[in-house]
Every structure is written in structure tokens, then in C-alpha cells.
């Protein structure tokens, strides 16, 4: 018994619990912040004011939204499959949180000397982290497909089927762009991949994989947007054709779970992109102990790009989406993979 108490009160355990708690809370808050940012950015791009009634500059708008979602009535269609209808949003939000577990977000730190040995700022340091993220992302599709099927409504079903077709098509290109970075880094651990991106080429260009792998980054970005069902690839919830797609029949907190999952998935995909291509927590001017500041800056920039794209580009047509995925992105990813392999063989790095 005293062993357990010793373990629970040890600095390592407290630090680790703090990391887990901070990540969990930060992901939830990031969803609220993103909702506010989405409204403000879209308003800016459409020359409107956006939310400006609740709090200064509408800053308390997300809280008002959350309170509204809490107190709305839970509705379930009579013909829906009760069990799967409840299960679907839970799967969505669980996979969204789970995918962040192997993502490092800062240099190992001792928390100002609290710990004897530095602790990595990540939840689970697995040696196949890249594959774990890929696997969890591929589980996320079940939430959407089951929501579509369990609602027993034609719009939901079409949204769910579209989303699974879209995710299967883009997962191949997504996986191949991950593979190129893994080949260059010679490891699948995100921590080690980030570690290899410190330093500079020729003294000025940071050693980020985006420079040798710009094709890979392009493929990753396109596939990442498609994986998170964001515009211009937001077919599962195309309003004009499908009302709201797979979550047409959902209301209240169940809808909020889907909503949260979508925004957390955006954060995770951006965080993975930062770690794989943009050098993670490495950057000039800020000492390595505070590297997480660089990480947050890069993450915020990528998330802004998500919003930027959504409010700039119109939605593709469905057949354009499929032909883009299979006839452009996949061949591009394959060629990039072969070129990378040839380069590694030739330069013997």
C-alpha cells in the first residue's frame, strides 16, 4: 500500500499526470478557440464583424455556445438504432483524443529542476508513433459511418458513405507521404524525427523536412484536409446537398461531440505536420526548454491555413474529389516515395 502512495506522490507521476491533464484540457479548449477563430476569420474574409455581442470582441461566444449545447434537448429519431446512435459520437471523440497521445509538443524538460531526469513532453513515447497515429485516424471513420447508418435517414446515410469512400481514397496518399519522412529519418518515433530536424543547412536554412519533402508536405496537407472532412473536401456534410450529412439527426451534446472531434482532429493533423515537416519545437531565438512556444506558433499558423482555405476555396464536385485523390495525389505520392528512395540510395544518407 505504501508503495502505491510513494508512486503516486513521486515527482515523475505528478509531472506525467500534469502532462496528460494539460493535453486533455488543451485539446478541449482548442476546439472552443477554433470555433471562435473560425467565426472571426470568416467574418474578416467576408468583410463582416463576426460575433461581437457576448463579452469584449465576442470573446465569450464559445462559452455561450457550450452552454446552449448543454441545455438543448437530446433528440433521437424513432427509427434510429438506439445503441449505435449513442455509440457513434463517442467513437468519434475518443479517437480524436487518442490520436494526440503519441504526439510530442516540446523538448524534454525537468520542469525547472523538479525532476531528476528530463521528461519528454508527450503522453506515450511509442517507437511506432507514426503508425499509431495512422491507425487511430483510420478508426475515426467508424464514428461517421455508424452515425450515418444508425440515424436511419437518407441524408445521414449518404453523408456516412461519402465520408468512408473519401477517407479510404485519401488514406493511401496520406500513408505514403508519412512513409517518405520515415524513410529520411530512419525512425518511426516522432520524438526522434523531431530530434533530427534541429540545426541548419548552410547556416541559414533550418533542417526541416518540408524543404527536401515539399511534394510530401503538399500531399500530406491535401490528404490531411480530406481526412478531417474540411472544406474544400467537406462532402460528408455538404449543406446544399445533404442538409448536414452524417450528423443531420444529432442535437445537443451528441452533436457537440462530433463538432469537437472535427476540431480536435484538425489540431492533431496540424501537430503531426509540425512534427514531421516543420521541425517540431525547433526554431531560432527561443531557448530549447521553451520550444513548446515555437510548437504552438507553428500549430496556430497551420490551423489558420485550415480556416484560410475553407473560406477561400469552393467545394469540389464529388467526382472531382475522387479523381483528384486517385489520379493526382496517389501517383504524386508514389513518385515522391520512389524519388526519395532513389535519393537516399544515391547520396547514401
Amino acid at each position: 500500500m505504501s508503495g502505491i502512495i510513494d508512486y503516486v506522490t513521486s515527482p515523475e507521476f505528478i509531472a506525467y499526470s500534469a502532462i496528460v491533464g494539460v493535453v486533455f484540457m488543451a485539446l478541449q479548449i482548442s476546439a472552443a478557440v477554433m470555433v471562435y477563430a473560425e467565426r472571426k476569420v470568416s467574418a474578416f474574409m467576408q468583410q463582416r464583424n463576426g460575433p461581437n455581442r457576448v463579452g469584449p470582441q465576442g470573446l465569450l461566444q464559445p462559452i455561450a455556445d457550450i452552454v446552449k449545447l448543454f441545455f438543448k434537448e437530446e433528440l433521437r429519431p424513432k427509427a434510429a438504432d438506439a445503441f449505435l446512435f449513442s455509440l457513434a459520437p463517442i467513437i468519434s471523440v475518443t479517437t480524436a483524443f487518442l490520436a494526440f497521445a503519441p504526439v510530442p509538443f516540446g523538448a524534454p524538460t525537468t520542469f525547472f529542476g523538479l525532476l531528476d531526469e528530463p521528461m519528454a513532453l508527450m503522453i506515450a513515447d511509442v517507437n511506432v508513433a507514426v503508425l499509431v497515429i495512422f491507425a487511430v485516424a483510420s478508426m475515426g471513420v467508424y464514428g461517421i459511418v455508424l452515425a450515418g447508418w444508425a440515424s436511419n435517414s437518407k441524408y445521414s446515410l449518404l453523408g456516412g458513405l461519402r465520408s468512408s469512400a473519401q477517407m479510404i481514397s485519401y488514406e493511401l496518399a496520406y500513408g505514403m507521404s508519412l512513409a517518405t519522412v520515415v524513410m529520411m529519418a530512419d525512425t518511426m518515433s516522432l520524438k526522434e524525427i523531431v530530434g533530427q530536424q534541429s540545426g541548419y543547412w548552410l547556416g541559414v536554412i533550418p533542417k526541416w523536412y518540408i524543404f527536401p519533402q515539399f511534394l510530401g508536405f503538399f500531399v500530406f496537407a491535401c490528404a490531411g484536409i480530406a481526412e478531417t472532412n474540411r472544406a474544400p473536401f467537406d462532402f460528408p456534410e455538404a449543406e446544399q446537398e445533404l442538409v448536414a450529412g452524417y450528423h443531420t439527426e444529432y442535437s445537443s451534446m451528441r452533436f457537440a461531440m462530433f463538432f469537437m472531434a472535427e476540431y480536435i482532429n484538425m489540431v492533431t493533423v496540424s501537430a503531426v505536420a509540425v512534427n514531421l515537416f516543420l521541425g517540431g519545437w525547433h526554431g531560432p531565438f527561443i531557448p530549447t526548454e521553451y520550444g513548446w512556444i515555437w510548437f504552438v506558433i507553428k500549430l496556430a499558423f497551420l490551423l489558420f491555413c485550415y480556416l484560410w482555405l475553407r473560406w477561400t476555396l469552393p467545394r469540389f464536385r464529388y467526382d472531382q474529389l475522387m479523381s483528384f485523390g486517385w489520379k493526382v495525389l496517389l501517383p504524386l505520392a508514389t513518385v515522391n516515395l520512389l524519388l526519395t528512395a532513389a535519393g537516399i540510395l544515391y547520396f547514401n544518407v
Binding site: L84, V128, L131, S138, M139, V145, L146, W149, M167, E171
Partner: protein
Amino acid sequence: MSSDALLFYAFAGVAVLGALLVVSQRNPVYSVLALIASFFGLSGLYVLLEAPFVAVVQIIIYAGAIMVLFLFTVMLLNVPREDAAEWDKSHPLYRPGAVRIGAVLALLMALQLGWALSRTPGLSAGVGDDTAAASSVSDLGVKLFSGAGDGSAGYMFAFEVTSILIIIAMVGAVVLARKRED
């Protein structure tokens, strides 16, 4: 009981329970979901065997890709709930032939499983040195794509032949399903 054994029984329980639910559910969508749960149990067992790569690939390939296609097919075809047939309440021996053959097969499998278990030297024994070698991704790659190192061919031939077999199956399916255009 050690924590490893506890985890083993938990994962094995999930795998077996999931497999039982696959065959006992009347609704095909629930069967698909139970199979996914069963795969997760198997994946946990691979982690316990110190093969994280195999565990993750199990999730990506089976739970992530193949089962999505299963679910897709079940939903598109709108496979109805299976209702109990009329002979369900009769004595097992009077049921139609398929059930009798199935019962014989199940009996054989149970006997085989019992025989195999009776020869296994218990859970505590190691599985062999091969698992340690295959646990890291690069070692697995070396084993699959080059010789075993002691002059023998390793697993390369079997691996390549399997991939050709899969391509043949894929081409065959496309040829069979394609509409005749003449």
C-alpha cells in the same frame, strides 16, 4: 497474478467474446463491430508479445481498412436482420445438413484446440528468440526482404509469392465484376 497475465486474460477475453458475438448477433452491422472489437483484443495480445509493429498493423489493415469495406458492403447491400428459421426449436440432430456439418467441424476444432493446449508448456514459457528479433520494424524489414543471414532465403520468397497471390485475386475480382462493353 502478475500484471502481464492479468492483461493477457483481459485482451484474450475481449478477443474471444468479440468472436462469439460475431456469430451470435442477428444484425450484420453488429457482427462487423464485434469483429473489430475482437481485432483490438488480438492487437493487445501482440503488444504483450512485444511486437508493437504487428499490433499497429493489425489495427491499420484489419480493423481500419478491411472492416471499413465490410461495413460499407453491409450498409450498401442493406443486409437485413437474420430472423430465426422455423427449425430453430427442433432437436439439433434433426436440423438440415449445413448445421450438422458445422457441428462436426466445431467438435473437431474443439478437440484440436484441447489437444494443442494440452501440449503447450504453460503461459510462463517464452515463445522463442524469433519474437525478440521481429519486434523492431527494421529487423522485421530485414527478415522479410533479405535472407535470414545464415545463408537461407529467409521469408522473402513466401512474402513475394503472397503479394503476387493478392494481386492475382484483385485482378480476378475486377475482371469478374466488370461490365461487358460489347
